[in-house]
């Protein structure tokens, strides 16, 4: 075991290796490790953020559903109101129509009755004249006794 120039040679090569390792080996590998560490941290943060966003979205969706439900209830209410209005209106219409029809029918009936009465009266007058003439066996001048017949007819 001789100590000689090898010592200095080893010292120099050691220095070169350390320098090289520091510059070209350690720094890039450590850089990559740091980058990955940061990426993972960012990813985790993003995931957490996403989860938070999802919570918010859920909350918003609930809100929207609640609002929609309220609107739907309102619409149904209005529709029901409108429907009962329509029913009431048509009921009113029907009632007035039926009253009108009834009135018309009554008027017609009255007219018919009047006409029938007039006819009946005439026929009764004719019959009365005919009957009287048969009883008297002579011609009654209808014209001459017109006022009597008329009177008679009036009495019926």
């Amino acid at each position: 075991m001789n100590i000689n120039l090898t010592l200095i040679g080893q010292l120099l090569s050691f220095a070169v290796f350390v320098w090289f390792t520091m510059k070209f080996v350690w720094t890039p590998i450590m850089g990559a490790l740091d980058t990955r560490r940061k990426e993972i941290a960012d990813g985790l943060a993003a995931a957490e953020h996403g989860q938070h966003e999802q919570e918010l979205a859920k909350e918003r969706a609930k809100e929207a559903i609640r609002e929609a439900k309220g609107q739907a209830a309102e619409i149904i209410n209005q529709a029901q109101k409108r429907a009962s209005e329509i029913v009431d209106e048509s009921k009113g219409n029907a009632r007035s129509e039926s009253e009108r029809i009834l009135a018309a029918a009554q008027a017609e009936i009255e007219q018919e009755t009047n006409r029938a009465r007039e006819q009946l009266r005439q026929q009764v007058a004719e019959l009365a004249v005919l009957g009287a003439s048969k009883i008297l066996r002579k011609e009654i001048d209808a014209a001459a006794h017109k006022d009597i017949v008329e009177q008679l007819a009036q009495q019926i």
């Binding site: 100590i3 040679g9 080893q10 090569s13 290796f17 720094t27 990559a32």
Partner: protein, 286 residues
């Protein structure tokens, strides 16, 4: 193998000799042909095998490290990147656990130390004769393949770490602060004269503990790896002692290699952790 013409001690000695390049005693430059010749070359010689294997292994590390780092993605990682990320996070956790300051150098330094020492130690698991035998076949006589069994390699790293601790100690605490740390503790007094008297005592104590850091760092790794290598060599000698002992040696080698997996990882981890701790001490003001 080498045992046929060599005695056991020659075999061991052969395995523990580095391939040394330096100036011969006659003034010419070249490879040493024996351990004695290598010793004669003195300081101005270089262990070619240690340099070759450590730079090859370090080069492999930074080659694959760069390859992974170039294709690194923050998305879904591939198999290689998974492994690299596991390693990087393991180192990063260790640094975060022991280092309280902020310094972008410490974590890459720890990664380099851990991987480089681990790879150097891993060469110990290659059977001791394989690579020296192959090298011998192409005419290279000495080949020590585990760089961390060469104190030059472990001291090289430990001194590098030591220089960094000195640099950051002075940078963070200032020259005065650093000197104060060396001279004003552990003994101190409210009386200025006593305080002055304590300075040399404190300095001796603190200086020894300061110097002990790199030395213990280097020698711990070196000692563990050298001893492990030595045991592999001793087991390898058994292969020349007949069939029964040879088979026994095979079992021993397997067992020691499996146990050694723990040691090589542990030693790399200890070196790395102590480096982080020493740098942390350099950054902390008392």
């Amino acid at each position: 193998m080498a045992g046929d013409t060599l005695t056991s001690s020659e075999y061991i000695k052969h395995h523990l000799t580095n391939l040394t390049f330096g100036q011969h005693s006659d003034g010419t430059w070249g490879l040493a042909h024996s351990a004695a010749e290598a010793k004669e070359m003195g300081f101005w010689a270089i262990h070619v095998d240690t340099m070759f294997w450590s730079i090859l292994l370090g080069g492999l590390f930074i080659y694959f490290g760069k390859k992974i780092a170039d294709r690194v993605t923050a998305g879904v990682p591939g198999g290689m990147q998974n492994f690299a990320e596991w390693l990087v996070e393991f180192i990063d956790d260790s640094v975060r656990g022991s280092f309280s300051g902020r310094n972008p150098l410490v974590a890459p330094l720890a990664l380099t130390i851990f991987v480089w020492i681990f790879l150097q130690n891993l060469m110990d698991l290659v059977p001791v004769d394989v690579i020296p035998y192959l090298a011998g076949a192409i005419g290279i006589h000495f080949m020590k393949v585990v760089p961390s069994t060469d104190p030059n390699a472990t001291f090289g790293m430990a001194i590098g770490v030591f220089m960094l601790t000195l640099y950051y100690s002075i940078k963070i605490k200032g020259v005065g602060g650093f000197m104060g740390e060396l001279t004003l503790q552990p003994f101190s007094s409210d009386n200025p004269i006593v305080k002055l008297l304590f300075i040399p005592i404190n300095f001796v104590l603190e200086f020894v503990s300061l110097i002990a850091k790199p030395i213990s760092l280097a020698l711990r790794l070196f000692g563990n790896m050298y001893a492990g290598e030595m045991i592999f060599i001793l087991i390898a000698i058994m292969y020349n002692a007949g069939v029964v002992l040879g088979l026994f040696g095979g079992v021993l080698q397997l067992g020691w290699a499996i146990f050694h997996i723990l040691i090589i990882t542990l030693q790399a981890f200890i070196f790395m952790t102590l480096t982080i701790v020493y740098l942390d001490m350099a950054h902390n003001d008392h």
